[in-house]
């Protein structure tokens, strides 16, 4: 574990060398603790897979003073067992009809049905939220579905697309460029700036995908 400046107004807490299944929830708990203890000094706290980035108010503090105040919190956090809460479980409907489904199945030497069973058969954990508003990185994808990102990213991935890349899966909350493989479509809106909270998923939450058909996709409000 180490603390290092990340530019003049942020401090990076490097919490592990490699991500593991329990880490996101622990990092989320640490973010809550820091917010509680250092509230007015904190501008934002951004969890990464193995890190927590603390944007701070330079008029109120600096990285040396913050480091001193963080060290006891981190010592406590290190010896704490897994948090008692297990992370909220979201069951998200998906119509497995993404543009790349057939190609991904071929590349993984699986039938489409096997691919869907593998993808929807496990529980994922939100490891980080970033790239775009509400874009939740979910891990860990079955190794049999692991593919590198597309060589050339698409300039336009439709909002609601369920995608995979390497050992991660995610839903693009809104239409954006993207380099992941599209395997399905979710009828739900996963980020809404007017909603409270704007993003249904939080770091450390659990996600399970429920395979639905086109009729159910439309019934849930999915645009054809």
């Amino acid at each position: 574990m180490r603390l290092e400046p990340a530019g003049p107004e942020a401090l990076l807490l490097v919490l592990a060398d490699q991500p593991d299944a329990g880490l996101p929830l622990r990092i989320a708990a640490l973010a809550d603790l820091i917010q509680l203890e250092l509230g007015p000094l904190v501008v934002d706290l951004v969890p990464g897979w193995t890190t927590l980035l603390l944007h701070y108010d330079l008029l109120r503090t600096d990285h040396l003073q913050l480091s001193r105040r963080l060290l006891p919190l981190l010592e406590d956090w290190c010896v704490q067992a897994q948090p008692s809460r297990s992370g909220h479980l979201h069951e998200i409907p998906v119509w497995y009809a993404g543009e790349d489904l057939a190609e991904v199945a071929r590349a993984c030497a699986l039938s489409e049905a096997e691919l869907i069973a593998l993808h929807s058969g496990v529980e994922y954990r939100v490891g980080a939220i970033g790239f775009a508003p509400g874009f939740a990185y979910l891990g860990e994808l079955d190794a049999r579905l692991s593919l590198p990102r597309r060589r050339t990213p698409r300039t336009r991935v439709p909002g609601g697309s369920l995608a995979i890349a390497e050992r991660q899966t995610a839903i693009y909350p809104q239409t954006s460029p993207g380099g992941w493989h599209l395997i399905g479509r979710c009828p739900w809106r996963l980020f809404d700036a007017q909603a409270e909270p704007p993003c249904a998923l939080a770091v450390g939450d659990r996600v399970r995908f429920l395979a639905i058909d086109e009729a159910a996709f439309r019934a849930e409000g999915g645009a054809p």
Partner: protein
């Protein structure tokens, strides 16, 4: 409410404030003005707090008609400023009467001009800010991230100020000069070779035309980037080095997380100079220490407000 009517929007004019802060944990980009110094001066000339909503005008070419008597200020890119055909000075405030037309020519030097109005432009905030983030569809006049267009109406209130005022000339930057930007090393700098770290500072870098509000792309003899890492939170000014070895400096519309190795950070008060550079301009970097950089930023906040 009364205000200014947009007759011609110019190629890319955006309502901005101090940025959408506090939502990066949900992947929401802060946005805000690219040149925080020029924007801060425009507001200060009108006694507005820093971060009062103003318009960032890329390249100029905007025309507005006022429906009220008020005061405006322009700072940033050097361009022809006319009020009903009569010239008005840049880096200054001046009165605007109901029915008058304010027209801006195209930028002769610099890329972004800032138009502030006394009391600020009014728009409904999205996640606490009116800053326009086009990619994310957030903020702006209509809340959906759209740039300003002809027919838009920028609401503001009538204000009377005692007289003209200008930014002291010694604070007015020369956007024609080839800038030397201050950089602190950090992040993954230790994973780059010593030769590459030296080369980054020794050689000029050329601004790529692919630059945008998200990132300024530099081209030059490629650096050898260390291996990709697990995605982590990133900050403004971060110098990312993707596998092609051509650095990208993250700007106001940056993403909140990134996985590319980071060589260091450009001084936040120098990012405006970078944003004012046209494509193909050569820029250089000089190494500074964290402490001095922090002192500069504190001074900026104390003078202009947090």
């Amino acid at each position: 409410m009364t205000g200014l009517a947009v007759i011609r929007p110019g190629p890319f004019s955006l309502l901005q404030d101090a940025g959408r802060l506090g939502w990066q944990h949900l992947g929401v980009s802060p946005a805000g003005p690219l040149d925080i110094q020029a924007a801060a001066w425009a507001n200060r000339l009108l006694d507005n707090p820093r971060g009062t909503p103003l318009v960032e005008i890329a390249l100029g070419g905007m025309e507005l008609e006022s429906a009220l008597d008020t005061w405006v200020a322009l700072c940033g890119a050097e361009l022809d400023i006319r009020l009903d055909g009569a010239p008005r000075p840049n880096w200054s405030r001046f009165a605007l009467r109901a029915g008058q037309r304010l027209s801006l020519g195209f930028a002769r030097s610099g890329q972004r001009a800032y138009l502030a109005v006394a009391g600020g432009f009014r728009a409904a905030p999205v996640l606490g800010s009116v800053a326009t983030q086009e990619r994310e569809g957030l903020g702006g006049l209509h809340g959906d991230g759209r740039p300003l267009c002809a027919g838009d109406f920028l609401p503001c209130v009538p204000v009377v100020l005692p007289g003209a005022a200008s930014v002291p000339w010694r604070f007015v930057p020369d956007y024609r000069a080839e800038p030397c930007l201050r950089v602190m090393l950090g992040g993954d700098a230790g994973d780059f070779s010593v030769a590459d770290r030296q080369r980054f500072f020794a050689r000029p870098w050329r601004l790529s035309p692919q630059s945008d509000r998200m990132g300024t792309r530099l081209s030059g003899e490629p650096l050898r980037a260390p291996a990709r890492q697990w995605s982590l939170g990133v900050t403004a000014g971060a110098i990312q080095v993707p596998p092609d070895g051509q650095p990208i400096v993250l700007m106001a519309d940056r993403q909140t997380m990134g996985g590319y190795p980071i060589l260091g950070w450009v001084h936040p008060l120098d990012l405006g100079l970078l944003a004012q550079c046209p494509a193909h301009r050569e820029v250089r970097f000089e190494r500074v220490k964290l402490g001095g950089m922090q002192e500069d930023i504190r001074e900026f906040y104390r003078f202009f407000g947090r």
